[in-house]
Amino acid sequence: MIEIEDLGKVFGSRWVLRGLNLRVERGEFLTVLGPNGSGKTTLLKVLATLLRPSQGRMRIGGRDMKDGAEIRRLLGFVGHESLLYEDLTSLENLRFYARMYDVPGAEARIEALAEEMDLAPFLGEKVRTLSHGMKKRLSIARALLHNPPVILLDEPETGLDQKATAILLETLERFVGERTVVMTTHNLERGLKMGDRVVILSQGKITYEGRKPLDTATFPETYFKYTGARP
């Protein structure tokens, strides 16, 4: 589903990603771990076509990265920023994105999603008034509107407390289903639990690859070994 060949991204003179080769199969859940500055967010942004690679190639769903618009149709991205318009209500935000993504039966779809994600009571509220956790859920709803086969999650647990994180990850597990997912996270336990495959990114390169099942107890040592940092 996702193929990356020799991917590199340079910011000025700093190579944040270099010579990355990666394949993610359809329906696979890939967890990407790594310390801050390892290039996790950059990788996700390149996949989301928010950034252009400085070298290498990328294909998603068989489409080359040149077909930006077509690739984006297949993606649902949840990043650090909510990507929501603060002055508009949740409903208006979802309607906007539904129209941009050509979602068929938009109203019904929005209603259904809102029900499932427990957002119905907040539909008429301006996004500015929502709590961080609610914004996160709304952001995920936005990403799922068009039923994308690929979901990209960038440290979804950031900024949420324990309880909210637990709810969030539970919600995610419910929606993942058959989709291909790439998730970056600092939460070792959840990452290992949810991922079919785990990859460690260090200084822009993949230094470790492992398949389920992985032992949560010993993993911190492995992590340290491959990154020189504690999770």
Binding site: V10, F11, G12, S13, R14, W15, S54, Q203
Partner: protein, 223 residues
């Protein structure tokens, strides 16, 4: 310095000295009213031409950088802009110096001089944009400005000229043709400036490339 650079330097120096001699000793005064100030023309106009030359390098480099992505083109674009800004500035200043004895004011809204001022501002914008933008975006943004600015130049000149038909005023510059002695002097001066320009361009591009290399080495070493 490489051999070619030395040659350029030597030839350029000779050219400039020769031009100075021609300008101040040899060529007759063209306009008695303007007096010695008129001789600025032999420097003022070549500076304009050189700045255009420089900015066309920027134009070329910008297009190729956006198309190909190789840093070398960006170095060329940047160097062109820097040199162009300097020569445009000199052109404006010499123009002002010329205007004073010729018309009594330090500034006359002459179409060419005014256009040059606008052009200078456009490329000052280019340079400042580069300092204020994060490194990974700077070359691309600058390339856009490099292209837009260059394409804008004829439009600016045209608009200012038309504007001036509505609000006429003094015009700097020689009307009519050039006497052979004047032409010779002009061409010598132009040639000398061009040689220096080529030298400067080569040196500056080389310097940029070195700077970039140093940055990359520093980054690599940091890891």
């Amino acid at each position: 310095m490489k051999v070619l650079d030395r040659v350029l330097w030597a030839l350029g120096l000779v050219g400039i000295l020769f031009a100075l001699y021609l300008v101040f000793m040899w060529v007759p005064t063209a306009d008695v009213r303007e007096g010695i100030a008129q001789r600025i023309f032999y420097f003022h106009v070549p500076m304009a031409w050189i700045s255009f030359l420089a900015f066309s390098l920027t134009f070329l480099g910008s297009i190729l950088y956006l198309w190909r992505g190789t840093k070398g083109w960006d170095h060329l674009a940047y160097s062109g802009a820097e040199i162009g800004v300097v020569f445009a500035f000199l052109n404006i200043v010499t123009g002002s110096i010329w205007a004073r004895p010729a018309w009594g004011h330090w500034w006359v809204w002459d179409p060419r001089l005014t256009s040059m001022l606008v052009l200078w501002l456009i490329y000052v914008g280019y340079l400042l944009l580069r300092s204020y933008t994060p490194a990974h975006q700077a070359p691309r943004f600058a390339a856009v400005v490099g292209i837009a600015g260059f394409l804008d130049v004829p439009i600016v000149y045209f608009a200012i000229r038309w504007w001036r038909t509505l609000h006429p005023g003094p015009v700097i510059g020689t009307g009519g043709g050039l006497h052979p002695t004047m032409l010779t002097t002009f061409l010598v001066s132009l040639a000398a400036f061009t040689l220096f320009f080529i030298l400067l361009a080569r040196l500056r591009v080389g310097l940029r490339a070195l700077e970039a290399e140093i940055e990359e080495t520093k980054e690599a070493w940091r890891e």
